[in-house]
Assembly symmetry: C2
Homo-oligomer: 190 residues x 2
């Protein structure tokens, strides 16, 4: 998606050899017009799929999931909540998610009320890096007996392997910008 790649090059910021900061339009300030074009693009990529739920993780996935829902004819968006692990798990599906950037592990949870075995789930997130968040959402979907019809990421950092690993497991992954390398802050697309 050229518009997105241009936006990443002109307004994003590569840091070191692994981080790309897109606070200017995605992770803190949100360019809603761009989010709508992203939603339209996800619909185009997954147009043959029936989608009954869109799953994401708070907070940065919400804007994209919402604009994507519009183009699929308004399936409900369900966002997993982040919580520090606790014993209160009743009524929730949960999964542990490691954050390589922050060096932390958290638990994400979705209420059992909002996923059923009839659901066909599209997973949407801002980044696909090591694939931890996507794996957590897949686990939650499959705990509910529902089907993952696809995984859509705005930015994939292919050098961190998450996308490759998910594709090898047979999941359909669509990323709108694939970063092959970040070298001393210079972002190179595949």
């Amino acid at each position: 998606m050229k518009l997105l790649k241009d936006k990443i090059l002109y307004e994003g910021q590569g840091i070191g050899n692994s981080i790309v900061k897109v606070d200017n339009f995605l992770n803190h300030q949100i360019d809603v017009n761009l989010m709508e074009k992203i939603g339209e693009e996800f619909k185009e990529r997954f147009k043959e799929e029936e989608v009954t739920k869109i799953l994401t993780v708070e907070a940065s996935g919400i804007a994209i999931a919402v604009t994507t829902s519009h183009f699929f004819g308004f399936p409900p968006v369900v966002y997993a909540k982040k919580a520090t692990p606790s014993t209160m798990v009743e009524g929730f599906y949960s999964a542990k998610v490691k954050s390589f950037t922050k060096g932390t592990e958290s638990e994400i949870r979705i209420s059992k009320s909002y996923l059923s075995k009839e659901d066909k789930v599209l997973i949407i997130d801002d980044f696909l890096a090591h694939g931890e968040a996507a794996a957590g959402l897949i686990s939650i979907t499959e705990q509910a007996g529902a089907k993952v019809v696809g995984i859509g990421a705005v930015i994939e950092k292919s050098f961190q392997g998450g996308g490759t690993s998910l594709r090898e497991k047979g999941y359909r992954v669509e990323s709108l910008a694939m970063i092959g390398e970040i070298q001393d802050g210079i972002i190179k697309f595949l």
Copy 2:
């Protein structure tokens, strides 16, 4: 907004004398079609205002801020991040926000990059209860020298006084559903 009030009555859940749970369409699962109608209604209520930024707090305000931005012609949405207080405050405007429901105090932050003194800010949030989150966003806006043109809440719990206090200070507050009382789980609108 009748559609919203009906949704609260049929799908919301009053708990005790102060809590209304709307996880079914707003705070966990999101009814995007309803969010778009809410965005359109905020535009109608604030139509004479020039809005250059829409401010909200992660996570539950994001969906509403995004759909509202659409109807205002895409001003950027900026969402305040919640963080535990730390010494790292450089480059951020911040405000302390008490949560009466959770009994905690957190700090919300917005990068100085995304607010300037020229900005005309519409504050959007899911709930207006004691008014702590709105007061925090007002403080951040005014720290930047920007102007608050209005505060839009989806649900106001008028008995908790936040809306009254903000109106008395001269802010324009628009709430789409005003709850006057919750009594043993029964929700009564004003």
